[in-house]
Symmetry: C2
Subunit: 347 residues, 2 copies
C-alpha cells in the first residue's frame, strides 16, 4: 500500500523547506518592487509587515499548483503575489481589531504608524492584491483569477467576523468552528491552489493548458484541507507548542479566550470539575503561569493534544489524496510533503 503521505517520502522535509525558501525569495523580491509608490510614507507603512518576513506558504501553493500545469512564468508569480498581499492585508487589519501589539517579533503596523495609517496601509495592500491579480488575468486571459480572489476575500472577512463573535460566546459547536476556520484561513489556501491551476501553463507552452474543471475541484480540495490542517496545527501550537520555537507565549490563545479546536474538545470531554478549572483560565488575562500549566496538563490527561494531532493529520491526508490523480512529479511530491509539514510543524 503506497497511498497517502508515505508515498512521496523521496522528498524530505529539508528539500521541501529549501524549495519554499527559494520561492519565498522570489515572492519577496516581487513584493518589494510592487509596493513602491507615492506618498512614500504610505507605501513604507504598507511594505512594513511584508518586509518582516513570513513563511510565504500561500504563494508557494499557488506557484506549485501552477507548476503542475507547465513552467512557471511571470504571470504565475503575479497570481502568487496577489494571495500573499491579500494575506498581509488581513493581518494588518486583524491586528488593529484584536489590538495585538506584536507580530513577527516586531510592533504591529498600527503600533508603529498609528491606526489611521494602518487602516490605509491595509487597504492599499488589498488594492494591490487585486491589481496583481487583474494584471495576471489580463495577460494570461485566464478568467476566474480575480473572481476567486474576491470570493476568498469575502470569506476571510466573514471568518474574521465569526472568530471575533465566538470570543464573546460561551460555547461554539465543532461544526461552527470548522466553518469559521474554513472561512478565515482555509478559503485563502483553497483560492491559492485554485488560481495556481488557473494561471499555470497557459502562457508557458502552447501544448499545455490550465486546470480543467475536474482538476480545479481537486486543487480546491487540496488547498482547503491543507488550510484546515494548517489552522488546526496552529491551534495545537498555541496551547501545546514550545514557546522558544513558536515565538508566542505559552497558553496565549487560552488567556485570550479564543475558541479553538482545543476549547471545543475540552468542553466535550472534560468532567464538571475539570471544566470549571478550564473555564477559570479561559479568557482570563490574569491567569498565572502555574494555573495555565495546570490546565495544559489536564488537557493532556484528556489526550486533547493527541486528538488535535490526529485531526490535523486527517486533513493533511485528505489534502495529499486530492492530488492523487495528478502526474507523480516532484512538484506533486512537494505539495504533498507540504500538507504533511503543515500538520506536524513546530513553528
Amino acid at each position: 500500500m503506497e497511498r497517502g503521505i508515505e508515498k512521496h517520502n523521496s522528498v524530505t522535509q529539508l528539500e521541501l523547506l529549501a524549495s519554499i525558501k527559494a520561492e519565498a525569495e522570489q515572492i519577496d523580491k516581487k513584493m518589494q518592487s510592487f509596493l513602491v509608490g507615492e506618498p512614500r510614507d504610505l507605501y513604507s507603512a504598507a511594505y512594513y509587515l511584508p518586509s518582516l518576513g513570513g513563511k510565504r506558504m500561500r504563494p508557494y501553493v499557488t506557484i506549485m499548483c501552477g507548476r503542475m500545469f507547465g513552467d512557471v512564468d511571470e504571470q504565475l508569480y503575479l497570481s502568487a503575489l496577489s494571495v500573499e498581499l491579500l494575506h498581509n492585508f488581513t493581518l494588518v487589519h486583524d491586528d488593529i481589531m484584536d489590538k495585538d501589539e506584536f507580530r513577527r517579533g516586531h510592533p504591529t503596523v498600527h503600533k508603529e504608524y498609528g491606526e489611521t495609517v494602518a487602516i490605509l496601509a491595509g487597504d492599499l495592500l488589498f488594492s494591490k492584491a487585486f491589481e496583481a491579480a487583474s494584471i495576471a488575468e489580463e495577460r494570461t486571459g485566464a478568467a476566474g483569477i480575480v473572481r476567486q480572489l474576491s470570493l476568498a476575500s469575502i470569506k476571510v472577512d466573514e471568518g474574521q467576523f465569526l472568530d471575533i463573535s465566538f470570543e464573546g460566546r460561551h460555547s461554539v459547536s465543532m461544526e461552527e468552528y470548522l466553518r469559521m476556520i474554513y472561512l478565515k484561513t482555509a478559503s485563502l489556501y483553497e483560492c491559492s491552489a485554485l488560481i495556481g491551476g488557473l494561471t499555470g501553463g497557459i502562457v508557458s507552452a502552447a501544448s499545455r493548458s490550465a486546470a480543467n474543471e475536474n482538476q480545479r475541484g481537486f486543487l480546491a480540495e487540496y488547498g482547503k484541507n491543507l488550510g484546515l490542517a494548517f489552522q488546526i496545527r496552529d491551534d495545537y501550537l498555541g496551547v501545546f507548542g514550545d514557546a522558544s520555537k513558536t515565538g508566542k507565549p505559552v497558553g496565549n490563545d487560552l488567556r485570550r479566550g479564543k475558541k479553538t479546536l482545543i476549547t471545543i474538545m475540552a468542553t466535550g470531554l472534560a468532567s464538571g470539575t475539570q471544566l470549571t478549572r478550564f473555564e477559570s483560565v479561559l479568557g482570563n488575562s490574569l491567569a498565572t503561569a502555574e494555573e495555565l500549566n495546570g490546565v495544559i496538563s489536564m488537557l493532556k490527561e484528556l489526550e486533547i493534544d493527541t486528538k488535535c494531532v490526529v485531526t490535523a493529520k486527517e486533513y493533511a491526508e485528505k489534502a495529499v489524496e486530492s492530488l492523487d490523480t495528478f502526474p507523480q512529479t516532484r512538484v506533486r511530491a512537494l505539495l504533498q510533503a507540504l500538507a504533511q509539514y503543515a500538520s506536524t510543524r513546530e513553528s
Copy 2:
C-alpha cells in the same frame, strides 16, 4: 457658438435629476440583493450605509457612459455597482479615520456597530466591489474593468493619505491640492466613466462595440474633470453653502482645518492681518459662529467664493468638451448636464 454647456440646454436640470433618480433606484435594488449573506450581522453592517441613500452619481456616470455605446444590460449595472460599492467602502473607513459621527443624517457605521465591525464591513464592501467587477468582466469579456477599479482604489487610498497629512501641514500648494483631490475623488469618477465605456455595448448588440482607445481617453478626461468640478463645488459648499440645503454645519471644513481650495486661495490672496484672522479660525474647533461668519465675510470680500465658482465651472466645461466627439444623443446631453450640475449644485 454652440460649444460647451450651453449646447444641450434641451436637457433641463429636472430631466437630469429624474434620470439620476431612476438609475439610482436600479442601483439601490441591485446593491440590496448583492449585499446579502452570512453572518447576517456582518452583512447588516455592510448594508447599513448604502441603505441610507446617496446620490449614486458614480454609478450614474458608468451607466450613461456605457449607454453611449449601446443598450444597458445587466453587466453594465454590475460595473456601475462596483464603483458605488467601492465608494461606500471608502466612506466607512474614512469616517473611522476622521472620527466622524454622522453621515447622511445618521450615526456612522463605527458609531452604530463599533470600530471592529466597521473595519470588517468596509472590507466586505471592498471585496464585493471586486466581486461585482470580476463578474462583469467575465461575462462581457471586457478586459480592464477590474484593473481600472484596482487602480482607482489605489489612487483613492493615496488621496486619503494626502488629505489627512495635509491637515497637519501649515501650507499646501495649489498643485498639491489638485493632485490630492484628483486622487481622492476625481480618480473614481474617471474610473466610473472608463469602465462604463469598457462594459457598454459589448454584449447588448453584435453591431456595437465598447469604447476604443481614443474614446477611452475622452471618457477618462470627462470623468476626471467632472470629479474635480464636483469636489471643488464640495469645497465651496463646505464654507459658503446653505446649511439647510447641504445638511452640514456652516464652516465645518474651516473648523476642522481641512486644506481646501478656499484655504489655499485665502493663503495666496489675504493680507497679513487677514491671514492672521483666517488662521485663528482654521483648525480651531472652538471658533464661535460669530468668528466663523466674520471670516466667511472676509473670504467673500476677497472674492474667493466667486473664484471657486469659476474654477468649478472651468472643470465642468472641460468635462463637457471631452464628450464633443461623441454622437449628439440625449445620453451625451445628460452627461454634459451632469457636469454643469456638479459645478453648480446647492447640496
